[in-house]
Symmetry: D3
């Protein structure tokens, strides 16, 4: 089975630089695939992307040596299994607040006996290779989003779920859950402390720690702090930011 670059980088102790796709288009996905990301995630939760549009996006990512991941809209087996069948090499699942939810999530990513994923991955076999059935459980990555007060209260229970590869911090929702305005770069002490608590728990429990970052410098900072996986904003933000800069220059502002 084709290797998972995220696992390879982790095996070497490195930090993954991940791209994020909210625009449902295979050309913009291919543009992103040509940048120097280690992995790129199709965001099916908050991105403007549904399953059908995700397929050519995953294909566009497959034109390059970048590992394709997906964030699913919710912790439901239908969403998880379908996008894995389409060739995603890992799932980031939102709003995992309890051990039970985490087991439901991880189980959907794994064939029996490790889980209850149903078999029949048509594009998975094309992208992964003919030994997909035998090696998918050890290749596919499952990352649970930690983004609520409740989740922070259940860190060890969640993180010790068998088969869980890592957790992923959603700073905006975490801030809201703790009573603050959403903020992609946690500044309030209570939120920053919660992030540190989550990171420490990940280290303690031997799972990888990922986090969503608003920009490159933030990602560099997070990797220095010990995070294993950082996402750089998303394609939509990069586009609007890029346009704004050029327009100001054109207007002499």
């Amino acid at each position: 089975m084709r290797a998972n670059k995220v696992r390879d980088i982790w095996a070497k102790g490195g930090g993954v630089i991940n791209g994020w796709l909210a625009i449902a288009n295979s050309f913009s996905a291919e543009i992103m695939a040509h940048e120097d990301f280690d992995s790129v995630t199709v965001d099916m939760q908050h991105g403007m992307v549904d399953f059908q549009a995700a397929i050519p996006m995953l294909q566009a990512l497959s034109t390059r040596d970048v590992t394709p991941l997906a964030r699913v809209p919710w912790n439901e087996p239908a969403f998880i299994m379908k996008i894995l069948d389409a060739g995603a090499y890992g799932i980031i699942c939102p709003m995992i607040n309890t051990r039970e939810e985490c087991e439901k999530f991880v189980g959907a990513c794994r064939y029996a006996p490790e889980g209850y994923r149903s078999f029949g991955p048509p594009r998975g076999l094309l992208y992964g290779g003919k030994d997909y059935a035998a090696k998918a459980n050890e290749t596919i990555i499952a990352m649970a989003m930690i983004e609520t007060r409740q989740a922070v209260a259940n860190l060890d229970e969640i993180m010790t779920t068998p088969g869980l590869d890592g957790i992923y911090v959603g700073p905006n929702d975490l801030a809201i859950s703790l009573g603050y305005s959403p903020n992609p770069e946690p500044e309030e002490p209570e939120v920053a402390e919660a992030v540190a608590t989550i990171l420490a728990a990940a280290k303690r429990n031997g799972v990888k720690a990922g986090i969503h970052c608003p920009h490159g410098p933030s990602a560099l900072d997070k990797i220095k702090k010990g995070f294993d996986f950082t996402t750089l904003a998303n394609d939509a933000r990069m586009l609007s930011a890029g346009a704004a800069v050029e327009i100001k220059a054109a207007r002499g502002q």
Copy 2:
């Protein structure tokens, strides 16, 4: 009929800042519509965009007060009339090299007796208003691309075509036609001189001059030189450039 911002700016002697869409997606188009462009052009020539995809892009542009334009793939009435019917408020037409070609182009943009455009603009009526038939000829903009040695030799003949509103310089093709490598910012003296010649001819003939620019500072420079319409690269370039910057920062490069 809804006003054409490009005409309004020109009437005041201003220079238009134009966006450019090569990604066939209505969400990225809407993102661009929320930036401070005066007009945004759907590029159906070199963009990865066909008619069907252009419709929701034009609709996305219509959610904001930004004038929607289109570059057609070639000087053919089918392409020009269809996208006008879909609500484009102006056409940029590639490779106009002779007066005859220019007349064919402008005629496709105008109802009789000024031209031979066929009537029946379903989205044009929604976007433009119920007096579309009466006012389309004076509202819709027709800009001919000047981008070959042959066109440079025919400047006055082309620019005096009745109904032509402006010309649009394609620096890459102009450079190739003159024997150089494509370059979005003309540097070779012969190419730069050709651009200046075109600009002067536009001034002399009373048509507006537009030009494709690789970035904001270039557009500012062109407007200072007298250009009336400047395009800032395109969405695809903004996305890749934005991603590259953030990745380098994340990698500490």
Copy 3:
């Protein structure tokens, strides 16, 4: 944040005239947006419309001053949150039969602490404005469909759910649940009585009452009876009815 016309009309004691989209097309959606509706709902339950197709439909609605709503296919957070992220300004949720179900529904529409909606509304921010996070909870409308015998038995429990803005009667399903054939205009006394009971409960509990109507005169009648929100059939019915009338005339029938 951009105002919600439905809320504004309700604040003035008026009755909302709502359109309904079952055809997955942004041009037909824009046609509907140009008619004199106060709000238009993308029907993702019984309409032939999925998430990806709904986005350009919402964009088409956004070209006009008409409030965009969505009916979700089922009471699941994934459906509710995704279409809110895409800019819907209210959710009509089918088959709410108990207080628990209603709490699950309303919670998916509200950020903490009022609910558990996850943050990251890319098109919501474009359409709503930059203060979306702060004002979404008070702007977005949540309407629970009352359409079963069980729901009628639980009216007060359902209607007192905190954050619920209104209920919406589905006459067809209500008729079936009470043992009759589906009928968009309730005629059987038991069904008509159930509708009256629901309306009275809405008034008693201070929530708005909406209902699906087969045509304009029915809507006028319902508003006179005290309903606050009426839907006029849908685009598919209007199209087939319009075609049938013209064909008969053409055939001299």
Copy 4:
């Protein structure tokens, strides 16, 4: 080969009632196919419809016994041959002004030696049957639009083009060409007279006469006057008209 209902009706001296699709959607197309049309035309000229969207529309029409036609965007072989390959059973071609243009058009609809259509109709074979190659030339209908002053001056030359089945009057463009505002129901004497002249020429030359009508009563009138083929507005008009009526009723206007 499956019979062409339009030919069958003409063979019996009847007048065809034709539907018109400007909405690029297969569900709305199927709704129209369930109404009592003899034929339904996918409008690829002024409709918001391109080739890819037209395929499922033709498939939707094929679920019923209604003959599928297409209006092409312009008199170009690429457009004509592609949609014939997709199963259209007839072509309405805009802006035929000369004998030469008509020959180019008809030739694109016919295999050699009658024309120069290229062979390879994948959906044509599915819809038409295995004897498609042998019988297509006699089954497919070619109708040339007469809609300019120039065309009216060339009626006999155009109408005697071998293989031409009929002509189709476009009242809006004809009015514009004659110096009037577009009007789907010709009222100006000069336009009405031109329509009568065209009809008389069709009768004289033994080709069928079709015309675009704004509504059913107009179509009935035209058939009484001798027209063989009448189109009833289009789906977009039926939708907007239907919505307007219901909204007024709902508002008690």
Copy 5:
């Protein structure tokens, strides 16, 4: 209501030959509809097909006298009800392991009082006919997939669920659940025995037995053994197998 060919064949004691669509395209679906299948199933679980793409596929199937079915991605009412509304005449539901799950599944396929399906089938009415509401419960087929050890332990409980028409064996998942590699043609004695046990239970409980087969000879064998419904691989397999054969021949291999 239009008859269900699967029911008709079963009523005569015959075995159904079913096609399977994993390619999200209406032209390939129409090709399959022209082959000699009794029914064709749109696979929304492992196929690369979502709701929006399934609609034109169902329309393509409706051009021929072949019964359209769908496999849903998971046992959730939203998926089941939406595709029934779009005209599917039967549902194959994966991973039914308990009586409770089976009741949830069957209930989603049936209007009250037999179930809790919500009414409003826009394409169902077009395809099925105007008496859809009255006859859908007896026409639509519900088949539960038996594909886990747990399901095999609950056969009689599952199969006696009121309204269940049949079961459908998924050999790959069954093999995995029993501890073997996935195999579309069960060879391991334990798996083959489980299949036989399921078949016997179906006969004992009076429900029909279906099974997924890798090719035609396997299906013939299964029908001889008493299965009532067999699927022949899918479109994707047929395409890749066909291509491989021709390439080898072309290469002289």
Copy 6:
């Protein structure tokens, strides 16, 4: 610039085995890309494929080491240049009957001074590499279809067009043009002789000879006869043939 496998095989004197895509879907395209083709052609002429659908198909082909080609619908620069911009590495152009037509075709494939192709290949740069502008003219392949009596009469004039890489025989159209029924495997002596004449002319003029074949054995035969490029039917035929075989087996026929 990424190498063109077709050129590489030709440089070694080999015969290319080419696949052909008529189904507008990126998953079926990716399936084909995983078979052992040297090149795969997106058929935009007779295939059910337009530009927008072709993009993800080209991306799917780009996931493998198979060279992507396109057949355009007609000899028009708009079609040729757009699909080259999207990354096609060669064009097969139908109905080239004269030297003038061939020059128009080849010119559209080449940047000045060899031709008049317009510059701006967004996906071409991603797929081909950053030196695309410099090397495209020598990398992109231009093949003219010879498929009429007129073309056979002009073989040397056509084949000596500067920049033409090869010709491609369309047996069906050639048969029709010579007065026979279409036949993918030329059997009539006159047609077979014409094919031999074309092949000999290609050899004489030093251009490569391609031909469309109905199946693998035919391709093997053609390569043995000296053809340099053979296409194996298309995806649609492979699918229908594969389904027919399995159904017969399942029915014991």
